[in-house]
Symmetry: C2
Subunit: 350 residues, 2 copies
DNA sequence: AATATTTACGCAATCCATTGCGTAGAAGTC
DNA sequence: GACTTCTACGCAATGGATTGCGTAAATATT
């Protein structure tokens, strides 16, 4: 029952002329008389004519559509990234095809392949934690289609990347813990398959090294991002003979899941254990105690990814030289790492 | 530099046959010899041939794409709705075009119009708070294209709706406050232009009426969803001579913004003022005090919206009879409305 | 007056897959 | 031998917009 869309042919028939004349009249081609142009344009605007985008896509092999694949958007981080992507895309006249991988490699492969079959002009992706193979991504690069990694990337795939500054974010967080007197700092790290777990771990280790605190393997545990794993991690840490006095968590979700366990154990935050996490949720200001966080530039990551895509579109040879943009993080110190009295007293160090 | 996609013509040329024979061979048409079918299919799978979706779209006027327009996804609710939509669409072999209106009517009109020009098979939308005119939506219905409202709707537009049970959610929240002894219950309501503000207000009023508590106009304030407005609302309420002892907020964002103001004023939650809000964030369990919430079936709203779309696709005459699905909400009682001691003592009433 | 140039338009191919129709040759029927 | 039927394929149109090329007619040039 769909009403057929208005076409050039309809206009041509109405005016007793040819399709090509109508087309050229609308594009202000020099070989069309002013009177004809007026007739065509009048009718087109009266009938609210718009060229059929599907026909244009077929003709130009251009879709004004960017594919986006993220693992989830239930947590705050990727939903803000999506807002950045949508705003930038919208401004540039592009549409966004939105897909979830749910951290499952097979689903990621499926959505990438269906997206790829010529409906999109480029792909922005945060690979799943399972993404160790990457034929489905190589395939995009081989086609010469713009591919932009956000937040996470596959080392072996030669494509542009827009990342948060995980290393320095982590470094400054741990240094903050050290400067506020913590001696035994643990790290609940992300999955080793995720590209951003490593720089966060390195930042942690280097901050310790700078302050001559020996790293202790017991204090580094890896979480696979499930709740069970998070609980397991914290239990291992608070089961140690020598308890940690500070913990850096890979993300906010882990922090939220483990902090109650620590509280129930009777340990006081921040007095006995300080917490810092990578996190973006504004609600964080309302939890008790408020979580000290490394804030990631989520919106800008999305925005910049679209810009990189647009640059790459514009430049034929761009694909040969992938770019990496690393956007600064920001440490916001709150009650989970420093007693609020101290906070109010202005203990905030640079 | 984009590699040209493989076409029927390529296969036909390789096998010295015609495009139509290749097409029919791939579709197992009866008029093609088994030998030819084998040759074609072998080559097609060797070359990993896939029909060009754009050409199919043009031919069939079908896109396997659903447009989705929501005001934002930074807050938890719509991002969960989006997850429901994406899962259901993915399962049905559909793609999702994702757009934000940012609560701005003009932007909503723009994205709807660009989506509409024949790239999508249907539209799922949560109208912006500014959406009082609706030509851009009528236009969809007139075309016979499936249109599904989620969470909010335009009264005058004859389209299907998938909504949370705002009325009963609100009613049970207010009744809970009454049953736990509150006498003077306020409501920070949503914008009057939003379709779900009204049933939430009605639920509030009817719960009061049922328990013979007179409604007091002073206790009903409308928030336009900006932070400034939320602060203004709470200031009006706590500036009253007779303070409210319970507050129902239109959404979680308002609750988070106003609870600190109440605390700063030295008022104790829940002892002096109880709070209940419509909200979904899992993090809510970590704020202090934990917010009693009416949980909306966000994921299911998204899922059901896609199902309604699919039904409507399947049935030619469906558009004539729009459906409304109202999905149940759930009241979860936490510390913001009842002292935790009481909670633990099992005060939870049915 | 004859040729060159400009004006103003239409035809047909292009992108790609699908499909109604036509047609060749082979096989079968009376 | 003349007819129908079946097999196996190709042609061309379809969907919609664009564009190179061709071609009338109307001016301009010499």
């Amino acid at each position: 029952m769909l009403y057929r869309q208005l076409t050039l042919k309809d206009i041509a028939k109405e005016l007793n002329t040819s399709v090509s004349t109508v087309s050229r009249a609308l594009k202000d081609h020099h070989s069309i008389s002013p009177e004809m142009k007026k007739k065509v344009n009048d009718l087109a605007s009266r009938w609210d004519y718009h060229p059929n985008p599907t026909a244009l896509s077929l003709l130009k092999n251009k879709h004004y559509t960017i594919g986006v694949v993220v693992p989830e958007i239930a947590q705050n981080y990727f939903s803000i990234v999506m807002e950045g992507i949508e705003d930038a895309a919208n401004q540039a006249g592009y549409h966004v095809m939105f897909c979830l991988s749910k951290e499952i490699l097979q689903r990621e492969i499926n959505v990438v392949n269906t997206l790829l079959n010529n409906r999109i002009d480029g792909l922005i992706i945060a690979p799943s934690k399972e993404t160790v193979s990457h034929e489905h991504l190589d395939c995009i690069v081989n086609r010469g289609m713009p591919l932009i990694f956000i937040d996470r990337y596959c080392e072996a795939v030669p494509a542009s990347r827009v990342l948060g500054d995980d290393y320095n974010g982590s470094f400054s967080a741990v240094e903050h813990l050290i400067l506020t007197g913590r001696k035994r700092i643990a790290h609940i790290a992300g999955p080793e398959t995720l590209s951003n777990s490593n720089p966060r771990l390195s930042g942690y280790l280097d901050a310790l090294k700078k302050h001559r605190i020996p790293a202790d393997k017991e204090l580094i545990v890896h979480c696979d991002l499930t709740q069970a794993s998070a609980i397991d991690c914290i239990n291992r840490l608070i089961g140690l003979k020598k308890l940690p006095d500070g913990i850096l968590t890979y993300n906010s979700s882990i922090a939220f899941q483990v902090m109650p366990v620590v509280k129930e154990k009777g340990l006081k935050i921040p007095e006995q254990i300080a917490f810092v996490g990578f996190a973006n949720e504004p609600i964080i200001s309302y939890i008790e105690p408020q979580l000290t966080t490394v804030i990631q530039p989520a919106y800008d990551i999305g925005w910049e990814a679209v810009n990189l895509f647009l640059d790459q579109q514009a430049d034929e040879d761009y694909a040969a030289t992938p770019k990496t943009k690393i956007l600064p993080t920001q440490l916001v110190i709150r009650g989970s790492s420093v007693k609020s009295s101290a906070l109010h007293a202005g203990l905030r160090h640079a």
